[in-house]
Symmetry: C2
Subunit: 419 residues, 2 copies
């Protein structure tokens, strides 16, 4: 019998994933090496070569580059059994900083993170609402300035800004391919404009994917998981062995627009019975608004995210109408998540996004229960549901991490041939 698939299991899985990472896509090697240095705190070149499957000569060149950029430094030596002393490397977290901003129609959050992905400054901002892109981006620029001032970070030490928001996007062009929140945003040069306003490089990224990248870069660098991201709407992202799944145009995983009711009402997107229309915070706020007593009791009528938060708090406090709405949302989201898990065959789902701030545990438990009962592969492997750390900032942190990755992957820095 041919062994048709050498699937790494247990302890060897991560290492094999890293090895394929290292030898695989030629560009992200420096990012992979930096991830391992961060994870292991201190590590020698020999250990790095072993963990990645790269040759020691290649690792020596990669480390030389990271040293020259100031991303890592040497912190003494360790003597291996009988061999010559090995110099140990350590991340230099304060060498550079990155800014991440996540926004949707109703809320925005900005962070400054260091090379270890730790938040050193944070600001909440209003969402764009109906405002023009230029006004909103000017506000973002001002927030960036304010955060850097507050953290006493010199602009020359900032690698750039990552803007995490809804798709579809053209990430190369730095534009949104959707007339959301208003038609003016369609193909508006958001990245170029914010770059002009701040003097910093700017990238855009899908919010759910960004949340996944942020979680991955701060945790196990070779892990695989899906992100269910909920702010005003519902999205999702997928990290496979530490790599974001992108799809053909970097707009994968539109979880909000998969149908949970083939005969349901038509969505603006053209599909019927989209889960976004029945389970998203915007949808729940709309349903709450149809109940005048609930509106009066909770003082609803602000923006949908605020109203959704109020409904969530009331549900936790025992309001039966509010609890019914949250439960309906959680059940519908669970059904869609089963589809996601059945299609991608994944073992871990992380919930992220500010909409989980109040009722995240309710959603986590509901989704876990439905997955336990309904995932096709559950007799082969379970699927674990978790709430992200930093629910609200996860996507902004990921935006910042994308900036770092891009820097390490840029041809003049990380090119395989050059290191």
């Amino acid at each position: 019998m041919i062994r048709n698939h050498r699937r790494p299991t247990g302890a060897s899985r991560k290492e094999a994933a890293l090895r394929s990472f290292g030898s695989g896509t030629r560009v992200p090697t420096l990012a992979a090496v930096l991830d391992i240095i961060r994870e292991r705190t201190t590590v020698s070149r020999v250990e790095l070569a072993e963990a990645t499957g790269l040759t020691q000569a290649t690792m020596t060149r990669a480390v030389r580059k990271l040293l020259a950029m100031g991303f890592v430094h040497e912190v003494g030596t360790a003597r291996s059994n009988g061999g010559k002393p090995r110099r140990l490397l350590e991340l230099q977290p304060e060498a550079h900083y990155q800014v991440g901003i996540q926004f949707d129609r109703f809320a925005s959050v900005g962070v400054v993170v260091d090379l270890a992905g730790r938040i050193v400054a944070r600001r909440e901002m209003p969402g764009p609402g109906e405002r023009r892109p230029r006004e909103v981006l000017a506000e973002f620029a001002e927030t960036v300035r304010s955060m850097l001032d507050a953290a006493s970070i010199d602009r020359s030490n900032v690698l750039g800004i990552g803007l995490a928001t809804h798709g579809p996007q053209d990430r190369e062009a730095g534009v949104l391919l959707t007339p959301q929140p208003t038609p003016e945003w369609l193909r508006f040069p958001v990245a170029a404009t914010l770059a002009d306003l701040t003097g910093l490089p700017v990238v855009i990224e899908n919010d759910a994917t960004a949340a996944g990248i942020g979680l991955q870069a701060r945790g196990d660098s070779a892990s695989s998981f899906a992100v269910v991201f909920m702010s005003g709407g519902i999205g999702s992202g997928l990290i496979i062995d530490g790599h974001p799944y992108r799809g053909s145009t970097s707009n994968g995983l539109e979880l909000g627009h998969i149908s949970v009711d083939a005969t349901g009402p038509r969505c603006d997107c053209g599909n019927r019975g989209c889960v976004d229309n029945v389970a998203s915070p915007t949808a729940i706020a709309r349903q709450a608004a149809a109940n005048p007593e609930l509106v009066a009791r909770l003082g609803l009528g602000r923006d949908p995210l605020s109203d959704f938060s109020s409904v969530g708090r009331a549900a936790i406090a025992g309001d039966p109408d509010a609890a019914a709405l949250i439960l309906l949302s959680a059940q519908r989201l669970s059904i869609a998540t089963v589809s996601l898990v059945n299609l991608f065959d994944i073992g871990r789902v992380v919930l992220a996004g500010s909409a989980f701030a109040e009722t995240g545990a309710v959603y986590r438990d509901a989704v876990q229960q439905v997955l336990d009962e309904s995932v096709f592969m559950r007799h082969v492997h379970g699927t674990r549901v978790e709430l992200a750390d930093n629910l609200t900032e996860a996507a902004a942190i990921g935006g910042a991490v994308v900036v770092l990755r891009n820097r390490l992957e840029s041809p003049t820095v990380g090119d395989w041939a050059a290191i």
Copy 2:
């Protein structure tokens, strides 16, 4: 603005995909080189190096290996502009053969293919039904013998057998992880038993994934597409830049068990409103059986796949009851396919499997129409729906291709370090 994603476009896309293929996963290099040789008919080492991004020294070693295995041979020289003559390589299609067998409960088909993926022998067989694994596998072994005899192929020239069937599977162990078609099949050593009976190496593969691999290996080796596979049930597979997407346990894309009705009837799998229960041939045969006039008119009451074929032929001939059943199936399958496309962000869907033999064009047109109206990304890129060539044999061909790939990827043959 940072160029955050160097997405290859147009002409460069395939080449970039191949380059990432070649330098990426270290093992499948020989398979990639063989694919290009097959696609270009005749090609020089220099052209191969250019197409894959591998160094000429590496390509020379890879070609030496393929020559030694008899997979390719030299067919003369071409003089490039001013340089020295380049020796041209060509696939040796008859050097080796592979067997593929696809089976589900109701039908089986076996093929013998050459190195170019061309069918040189073919047999239809009954499906396992309620029979024991050993009896069915003995029938498969006899069919293999008969096909090889008919095509006058010596067993020593056969690389092995690929069994394509439903999941979940443990491909490493060569067993099914589901009590289908009967409980005896759960963890029965299907690969090892068939290997004992035939003296040939045997691998197992998901049927939808196999269909995708078969299509990819006979067409554009770097293409990306989803396969919607329908035999008794509904499954799907995904090929990204020529690579099968596998998920965490090689059981991705359980399209049949994604929900199109969150409040629908509970499926055996535990989920509600699974598309398999409303749209699969088995489901349509069940629905047809509930219409006594239709049963009498079409002489139904055989196995579900045969009954589904009868309903399909009647639908084409204008029977309104039959047409209504096929249309319902096509519509529900379309909704599920939109979810697939929205999650994976793909631009091409291929329908394969014997259930599309009668009414494939109806399904193709229905799915195309719904995708055109409902895919979230349709304003950014369209998604094309196609019927596979060799609808009925696609998965069996793919099973055979997997055997070839595994041979080229086996450590003693294709290891990067060794070539």
